[in-house]
Symmetry: C2
């Protein structure tokens, strides 16, 4: 496969002058590896094929030609280093609002342009459009998708302390000034309406609602962000958190002529891999010469029983190490958004953010961003609505939607395969819950369900979790 | 005012040839009057000014030039009289679904093109777009507004009886075959999600939900309608139920160069009248020569404590008779839609349907289609959201939105006037509830609140209501 790429991308290396080629020796993206292998930039560490570097330009912004960011320009509201001092001084003079951890995740998301053209937390005008139409109308009449309200809740006391100030300093959970919010607007946070229109239910037990909306203040604070420095988590995973700008650069460097994004918040099993590899095969058949997979695990808030990000990243790493996915044509990076579990509404956000990161193909599966109904024995969303709504969503017409083919465990072939309804009894569906149950009980899933290295990561995680869970019980006994 | 019109419309009468002028002696719309006066077509009954007739063409469809119907063509799915027999025979051979009264109201709405380009009850594709985006994307990429799901619910038994039939006969509450639904699709009726996304709440006590959704079946039946004959109610008000086609014809006949629609479900008081007359004045100032008011009370389902349609029509009639509104420049007709009380979602429907009827201006007030929260002591919707959402709504860009100025009773001038915040203590706000309380208690509102003739209609209605309400109590005593 790599040979094919080397040959086929050659004709595209025509627009770069000598000066630019020389600069490619200093690639801008050089994450330090964690775990046993780093899947991120295999070419950077495998310097045997210099031809692959010719399109890379470090230090300058290359606009990926595959797909325009929403609104035409990728938002970047991180204050340049030269202005950091003066802006920080100014921020210190302003009334402040305290951010929760979830708010910092959104500051991160907005600051790098995932939500382009959104430049800050939504004002009411944007909030209402998002809530009612899942989209924003731009001044020139074009429409961009915007399905989730990206808002900052404040309480009465904070509202009072802001008074009539036009700008507000945003303070992180540790008390450090993170950003300035400009030309602010304060408006009512009607939680019930927000929840009903975003989730299509107001039943108690929605993870994002219980954690962040129910306890939040009754006001929303909108305005334009100026983020004083890039948001970092110092959890050993920051190098995986490539911004849309960095991803676009990397796609250009690799001379991708198609980028297909795979959103996930679960470990990768061989069914996922089959699907991603099959997508690549289909894209090659369609005439694309160098389709690149963006394996893009969600890195923000997830519900308590989901596998944590660090474990998932290690598992993904193993999947590439074990050769289930091809590192040559795969980029693994973290999508910094929190998870809403809002099904058809959220899948639009997942897709839209990847458009901003330069992906022009998006894989969508059964029940994306779905979960069980919190109070009834059924799926919260019709499992087919996600892909249907995504294919109709305003502002996403330019994105190629690739609906999932259902993969299941073929007990005859002893591997994950596309489900064949003509011999349905041969297939075993292994849900995320089932997979976690196997791992938790120390049982092995059927051979060929997941690569052994990846499975081991999960088993170790659940062993450790059970040991930790057992601790207090021992202590209290 | 009428003199002005006569003079100013003259220059527009230039495109009609002699043949067409001769045909204007037989106007197509000649409703029979009910009540003391009929406001509908004063010019037809006041044949003193033949110059006013010159633009009228009977028997042919005149496409009003003011505003295109959504989708470009006004939907009309009423079977031509010549095919009625054969279609009825065919309908008798089909499996059937029984319609509730509310469904018949929707058949009426769809059949005349109020919901253009919708040609029948929504299939899932349309339902999902309506629910998530309040709009439909047409095949040519344009977007039309469609904020309320217009759907037909059926139960398990009906679904079973339909089996694999492609077409279904629709049977009215009295057992008569009303329509055929073609190329049907049956899909799940997720009531919770429909309610949450339409109303922004799932609180018990929403009138439309309690009456029609809660008891409805778990399936939705979509398809293209063929309505066997025009829907009539035989309640003495059918002549007020002008179709969009008839209204467009009438606007053209009157040579309107602007049509401004006023949706209402309450009696007209002098604050409303002030607003409508002021709107006309503003339109004249803007250079329009002949703005016509479409006073357009909603005629379908309303909640129990709203004033019934027949009483409202009599009250509206009095308002015109008493000269509060000018019959020369006003058309009173009934909008056959049922009421959802779904605030910002529903106001889009109210506006969109009037676009289809040829109105290019729409007056929107405080809290349109709103009501009190069914379980909390507050308005269900932010009173400003209706006009904000309407001004942002996809597909309604072509409509001129005229936001309400708040009118209140000026206790100094002793009349309804635009509220002047600089002397707010002089103003008295009389809500619909307050007005009904006055009428119910036989008290008079302040002088100048409503014309005496109109007020008398209300007092009589409540006297009669109280008499009826007292009856069972007397009987049981």
């Amino acid at each position: 496969m790599s040979l094919t790429i080397k040959l086929t991308i050659a004709p595209r290396i025509i627009n770069l002058n000598c000066h630019e080629r020389n600069r490619t020796k200093f690639p801008a993206i050089r994450p330090k590896p964690i775990y046993h292998s780093n899947a991120l930039n295999p070419i950077l560490y495998n310097n045997k094929r210099p031809g692959m570097f010719q399109a890379s330009v470090s230090g300058t912004v290359i606009k990926s030609s595959l797909i325009e960011p929403d609104g035409g320009v990728l938002v970047d509201v991180i204050v340049p280093e030269s202005e950091r001092g003066s802006k920080t001084l100014e921020a210190e003079s302003l009334p402040t609002a305290r951010l929760a951890k979830i708010d910092v995740e959104w500051v991160h998301v907005i600051s790098e342009g995932w939500a382009s053209p959104l430049k800050g937390f939504m004002r009411e005008n944007e909030y209402l459009q998002s809530l009612h139409f899942n989209s924003l109308r731009m001044e020139n009449g074009t429409v961009v998708n915007m399905s989730l309200p990206i808002v900052l809740a404040i309480d009465d006391e904070t509202k009072k302390s802001i008074g009539s100030s036009k700008d507000v300093g945003l303070v992180g959970p540790e008390g450090d000034l993170l950003a300035i919010l400009r030309s602010i607007e304060i408006y009512k946070h009607n939680k019930e309406e927000r929840i009903a229109r975003t989730w299509g239910t107001t039943a108690p037990g929605l993870p994002y609602v219980e954690e962040f909306i129910a306890p939040a203040g009754n006001w929303l604070l909108g305005g334009d962000l100026e983020v004083l420095k890039p948001i970092k988590y110092n959890d050993g995973l920051d190098h995986y958190r490539l911004s849309p700008k960095q991803l676009r650069k990397e796609f250009d460097r690799r001379q991708a002529d198609a980028v297909f994004a795979f959103q996930l918040r679960n470990p990768v099993h061989n069914g996922h891999a089959l699907l991603m590899n099959d997508t690549r095969r289909r894209l090659l058949e369609m005439g694309y010469k160098n389709p690149i997979l963006l394996l893009h695990p969600l890195g923000g808030f997830t519900k308590a029983d989901d596998v944590p990000l660090d474990v998932r990243m290690e598992q993904h790493s193993k999947v590439l190490e074990d050769g289930v996915l091809d590192p040559e044509t795969t980029i693994v990076a973290v999508f910094p958004s929190p998870m809403h579990y809002a099904g058809p509404t959220e899948v639009q956000w997942h897709a839209k953010a990847r458009v901003n990161a330069g992906a022009n193909f998006y894989i969508v599966g059964r029940d994306p961003a779905g979960m069980g109904h919190p109070t009834e024995k059924r799926d919260l969303y019709d499992p087919d609505h996600g892909k249907k709504v995504l294919s109709m969503a305003p502002g996403l017409e330019k994105l190629n939607i690739l609906p999932f083919r259902v993969a299941a465990y073929d007990t005859v072939a002893k591997k994950m395969a596309f489900f064949d309804p003509s011999r349905s009894k041969d297939f075993l569906f292994i849900s995320g819950t089932k997979m976690r149950t196997y791992a938790r009980n120390g049982e092995n899933p059927p051979d060929g369900f997941m690569c052994p290295g990846g499975w081991e990561v999960l088993v170790k995680y659940y062993e450790q979790l059970q040991a930790e869970e057992a601790m207090p019980a021992v202590a209290s006994a």
